[in-house]
Symmetry: C2
Subunit: 402 residues, 2 copies
């Protein structure tokens, strides 16, 4: 990154000093300080800065034709104990691209817009993408509380008022852009294990999550003969084995994860009476997810044997978000011209781009994650890789806005 | 039960009013009140009452030949939220047998002793059978604390002093008996499902418990391809499936239970990085347990694949306790003479009898548990079954002491 941007990056990173990893949860003082630092920098750079009522920061390089803008950006918030690059890289990378283009080419034809979305991770309040949902005019989140009982609405108003009152800031919800490009770390191992630098994202996978409950009868581990048991954990093990075989034969790209499992009463000398576990499955093709769900429900129904019952509820049902093929094709050519060998791939994680894709042509550019690690303090991407994707973004914005 | 004993039973049961089930944890005020009620009753019945320094109560009907005594009894303590019959039935059943024999036959030749062991369940301090271990001169438990930090030694001295100071009580550790017979509920379903009334216990099964840890790598459930995962839960599922097949083919009587399992980080969208689970296995033949342990260790070692490691520790290793065949044979004949059809069986749960069996000929008589339920408030045995086994015990004590 350029020195001034690198310095801003460090200042924002160091706001989390004294904690483990990065901890910019939406509307907290640390989050406010980060958006303030960004705003101050952008104002000092003579960008046109707006803040909407959800706390998203828009930094415009006005074009000769003022609307619609060509936009880039990502989210300012983090998970608890997060990494330095998740979201912040896309915010500052986009900002750097804007400033580089102005230095080299002066005023663009279309307005260029760098965005710092208020919230994406769902790490404080039980909601995700509240910033991009507001910009996209899809939903205005309200009425939530965090684990300490704090009100989302109160926290939002308190925090956003501070930002909107800063010198050089306009309180405004800008119009939708003509396109949106998000730089982001891959958060997975595919780029790094294949030694590639640039990922061009064709779609954000659809995602479904389920909770399955298996009920038997808790009983004495020593005195209950093996053929008189209704062991919920043994039944759950059988079911989970069947589910993973089904997932493996479905489609090679289908991800299937049992991430959470609890046993009751969870005592070494008591036969388990109840087991509750989750299933997280993802794929870019919604019919693949639908077929897997159907197969899974069938297996759950078959689990009900004498003394054993099983039930399933679905609590996440996000459809895949295909991204704009023309933007991807253009970036592929630009990347090749710049001497790179980009990989076309899905995103297995959700991003603001999935929201933006519903209202404007959208694409993503991935940088490698060392060891595939994300959502952890040791999240890392090498500086040359960060620079490479900012170079591609800059070329793409030039192509669209100049 | 006889009216006076039935009344004492009710008084002790009602000490747990206001709680869920029975809650006489060793050395608590409720436990002290229960032993006090028992002592007062026995003293009023002109029995010779001693209390040792661990709080076990001995109620003697002195014989013409004073030593060694023919003993019966069980434990006064309960688990948390326990049932009404576990332990207390054996204490009061034994006491009733003594009083019946005195009423009918006067003074016995051998001293008859009814025992209320202080602690068997391990429900307050991390130890079991501390009462019978002290009587058997096998171990004097000391130095423990309960979950609230209370000291075993302080609690013991405080409680036992109250009992030893009661009128009619001698502070004494009696000599070992010539035999020991324990009445107890089966705590399993075998008698009740076969419609039988009396179980004659040939052995208390040996028991081994293990903790197995499977370690992989926690990672993002969406962005980590299926063939690049080190999923500790999937590896654990495979291992547990192999273990249960091994257990099923070992010996039909081998009980195998995975009672406790925890997943880390236990989040729906994170691939599990670590799983810890317990194995509880029991059998009356120690070589069967040894062979199963060897097979299990082999399977654990085989679990270590790229990115996955597994380890195992054993933390319970109780050898089987065969009980006295001559006593069982005698009880079998007595039961048949009384018109019953007794079942010879193992005990899958531990009892004070396993401790006593190391120092004196010991046997157990089981009554049915309705639905096999124990260690729960709805533990139940029909009055006619309770009476039938007390009748057998009375006949056995008569045979041995008169």
């Amino acid at each position: 990154m350029q020195p001034a941007i690198a310095d801003l990056f460090q200042r924002i990173i160091h706001l989390s000093d004294g904690t483990t990893g990065q901890n910019r949860l939406v509307y907290t003082p640390r989050w406010v300080a980060a958006q303030k630092a960004l705003i101050a920098f952008a104002v000092a750079q003579d960008l046109s800065v707006s803040v909407d009522d959800y706390g998203t920061v828009y930094m415009d390089l006005p074009g000769r034709a003022t609307a619609p803008a060509i936009a880039t950006g990502s989210h300012m918030d983090t998970v608890v104990h997060g990494g330095q690059f998740d979201g912040l890289y896309g915010v500052l990378g986009g900002l750097q691209a804007l400033l580089t283009l102005r230095d080299r080419h002066g005023q663009p034809h279309q307005t260029l817009r760098a965005i710092s979305f208020s919230e994406e991770e769902g790490s404080r309040f039980p909601t995700t993408f509240s910033g991009s949902k507001h910009y996209a005019r899809l939903a205005d989140i309200t009425g939530l509380t965090d684990d300490s009982g704090a009100s989302f609405d109160t926290a939002r108003i308190t925090a956003v008022t501070q930002l909107q009152q800063l010198p050089g800031v306009t309180r405004q919800l800008p119009a939708l852009p003509k396109s949106f490009t998000e730089l982001h770390i891959e958060q997975g191992p595919r780029l790094i294990t294949t030694g590639r630098t640039i990922g061009l994202v064709s779609a954000i996978v659809g995602q479904r999550r389920f909770t399955i409950t298996v009920t038997g009868t808790a009983n004495h581990a020593g005195t209950t003969p093996m053929n008189q048991r209704h062991d919920a954990l043994q039944a759950a093990i059988t079911l989970m084995s069947q589910l993973r075989v089904t997932a493996a034969t479905a489609e090679s790209q289908l991800t299937f994860t049992v991430g959470q499992l609890t046993v009751s009463p969870n005592t070494s000398n008591v036969i388990p009476g109840k087991v509750v576990f989750t299933v997280d499955c993802r794929h870019a093709d919604d019919t693949v997810l639908g077929a897997f769900e159907t197969a899974m429900r069938h297996l759950v129904n078959q689990t009900s044997a004498p003394g054993i019952t099983a039930s399933i509820i679905r609590w996440v049902h996000d459809k895949p978000a295909p991204l704009a093929a023309p933007l991807l094709a253009a970036n592929r050519m630009l990347a090749t011209q710049l001497g790179f060998d980009p990989v076309v791939m899905d995103s297995g994680a959700g991003h603001d781009s999935e929201i933006m894709s519903r209202v404007t042509p959208t694409t993503m550019i991935f940088v490698p994650s060392v060891n595939g690690i994300s959502h952890a303090p040791n999240e890392y991407t090498a500086p040359e890789d960060l620079a490479a994707c900012i170079k591609l973004l800059t070329a793409s914005l030039f192509q669209q806005a100049y």
